[in-house]
Point group: C2
């Protein structure tokens, strides 16, 4: 088994309201950053896992996103994989 590091980016789909992002945008504006047009907040999940190869590591992490890490109705996700120590 080899060790991989996966990075999963989970973001709200286009068109889904992001109240947390709006709150941060308001806070940035009140700090004086009037140049900010939009803020959207997502999750960034780093997973260290064992797998036979990169393909099966990616498949496992995509399945984790579908089952637990993301809500496929509202969110989309993107997975990047690299071998640990490679």
């Amino acid at each position: 088994m080899r060790i991989f590091r996966a990075q999963a980016y989970v973001t709200l789909k286009e068109g889904v309201l992001d109240p947390q992002g709006q709150t941060v945008q308001g806070a940035l504006r009140s700090l004086g950053y009037a140049e900010v047009d939009e803020v959207r907040i997502g999750k960034f999940i780093e997973i260290k896992l064992e797998a036979q190869d990169e393909t099966s590591a990616r498949r496992a992490v995509e399945e984790m996103c579908e089952r637990l890490l993301a809500n496929p109705v509202l969110e989309r996700y993107r997975v990047e994989i690299e071998e640990d120590g490679a």
Copy 2:
């Protein structure tokens, strides 16, 4: 003024306990993913902003990270900038 899209990744520093990540790891294990060694959870912040050029866009977003988006004591951040529509 030009429009830029910034992506800021905010993660806990090495050595800082991540209870949210540990909880997710436990949930993944109870779903059968015994191959998961570690999970760490961070924030992924997308900011659309106006700036004169890429350098000043990056400087503004790094300052936002220092002042609001990250806690520099516990977290580190990385910023990527691209021009909108480029």
